[in-house]
């Protein structure tokens, strides 16, 4: 305390100067409109540039949360889009029978996950995500990101899961050219992480370079219509009945961060149906 008092007394002239300077400035800016306006204009310019700089820095800290929010919103919209598409299809089918009320299907749910490990340079690539069985991840769930298909869940732990990447020759994905019903099989040829090969596409399918390749929906893993890539060109093949196309993948596998695992709510039902059908055909075969 004594030191503080000594300090104040020693430098009292500076405190007196500051006091009178502040008083003068207050008088100056409050009573002179010209100085007042310039002061406020300059203060606003300085403040706005400081705030802008501050905002530029702090906005990066919230990007992860914003990204997650956007992903969730995207998932919700995608879910809504799928159900609306189903509804439209039902209306189309039931158009003559206007009394029939179609059921709105809510087949798919999405689980947001962050990629914690990823590879693109190996011949068999896998991705690990930070969500597991506790979060509702199950084997054979499809995984997508904002750009397109990523892979299929392979092994599930409690808090993490391994995904077989689309950049893995073991994964074959049923795809079709958008606005056509003919499908082929997409597989990675171990060459570039930006390209894959669509095999077994019938010869009579009409397409052009740049056409979009989407999932066919002929499995319980991916709903129909998810973007996979665009046609880059034809590839030489020995089979005269089928095309082999080079596909430029829309997903950037080298920059994966947030992905969505697709949960098909009707998967078990479809499996049971398939099993029942398989059992009946066996019985029929036995009788005959």
């Amino acid at each position: 305390m004594r030191n503080l008092l000594d300090f104040v007394i020693k430098h009292s002239s500076w405190f007196v100067f500051l006091f009178f300077a502040i008083l003068s400035c207050r008088l100056l800016f409050n009573s002179n409109p010209y100085q007042h306006s310039i002061y406020f204009t300059s203060a606003n310019v300085v403040c706005s540039s400081v705030y802008e700089l501050f905002n530029n820095v702090t906005s990066y800290f919230h990007l992860r949360d914003i990204n997650e929010d956007l992903q969730q919103r995207n998932a919700m919209l995608e879910n809504e889009m799928v159900s609306l598409r189903n509804e439209i299809n039902n209306y189309k089918m039931l158009l003559p029978d206007t009394n029939a009320v179609p059921e709105v299907y809510q087949h798919f749910d999405f689980v947001i996950a962050h990629v914690i490990s990823n590879s693109v340079s190996q011949p068999y690539n896998y991705i690990t995500i930070n969500r597991g069985s506790d979060d509702g991840i199950r084997p054979e769930m499809g995984v997508v990101d904002q750009n397109g298909v990523v892979g299929i869940v392979n092994v599930v732990g409690r808090h993490s899961a391994r995904i077989v990447s689309l950049l893995n020759p073991n994964l074959r994905l049923s795809c079709k050219v958008k606005n056509s019903d003919f499908f082929g099989s997409l597989v990675w040829d171990c060459e570039s992480p930006q390209y894959a090969v669509l095999e077994e596409l019938p010869r009579h399918v009409e397409f052009e370079n740049g056409d979009t390749i989407i999932t066919s929906g002929y499995s319980t893993v991916f709903p129909e219509g998810l973007i996979v890539g665009v046609i880059d060109g034809k590839m030489p093949t020995n089979d005269d009945n089928f095309y082999t196309l080079r596909i430029r993948l829309t997903t950037d596998f080298s920059r994966l961060s947030t992905v969505r695992a697709i949960k098909n709510n009707m998967k078990d039902e479809l499996r049971e149906l398939e099993k029942a059908d398989f059992g009946n055909s066996n019985k029929e075969r036995g009788k005959s």
């Binding site: 002239s13 003068s24 008088l27 100056l28």
Partner: protein, 172 residues
């Protein structure tokens, strides 16, 4: 002590009134004589800095009230009061050799006193005209006003001082 206090009170009031008149003078549209800072220049060097700042502030405030320029002269006078001692020591480093603590032609000699005065006037004019302009937009005009006002003020103050010195000499 009381006599000099009375003298300085008279100088304070006299300078305020003189400046009230000088505020109406503007030579060639640029040069304004800032005669009232003569009081700050003439304050004794052994007077506490706090007192110098206080007196200068109130002198500036008085001029502001007469000239309707709230705060401008008060701020410039406060700055001049703080820098006054440093300016003085710049030209007269051995303060102990000073016989009379009041800066004047007689105590400092014409050369040192003129340098001390012109620096103080220049400092004051720079601060006050920069506050008036408050922007570097028309800096040439501001610079012209600073230089011309400094020269005019310096000449007027030197005239004041010569008259005061001559009178004292006559009295002797």
């Amino acid at each position: 002590m009381s006599k000099s206090a009375l003298q300085f009170t008279g100088l304070f009031i006299g300078m305020l009134l003189a400046q009230a008149i000088c505020n109406r003078i503007c030579l060639f549209g640029v040069a304004v004589p800032m005669v009232f800072i003569y009081f700050i220049i003439r304050l004794p060097m052994n007077l506490s800095v706090n007192w110098v700042i206080c007196l200068s502030f109130f002198l500036g405030l008085g001029v502001d009230i007469f000239g309707d320029t709230q705060g401008m002269n008060a701020l410039a006078c406060t700055v001049l009061a703080v820098c006054r001692r440093s300016v003085f020591l710049l030209y007269f480093p051995r303060e102990d050799d000073l016989g009379n603590p009041i800066p004047s032609i007689r105590s400092l000699g014409i050369a040192v006193y003129a340098k001390y005065m012109v620096t103080a006037v220049l400092l004051y004019c720079t601060v006050v005209f920069l506050i008036q302009a408050f922007a570097l937009k028309h800096f040439e005009i501001t610079l012209l006003r600073i230089i011309s006002s400094t020269i005019l003020t310096f000449l007027v103050l030197l005239g004041f001082d010569s008259i005061a010195t001559t009178r004292r000499e006559k009295r002797l």
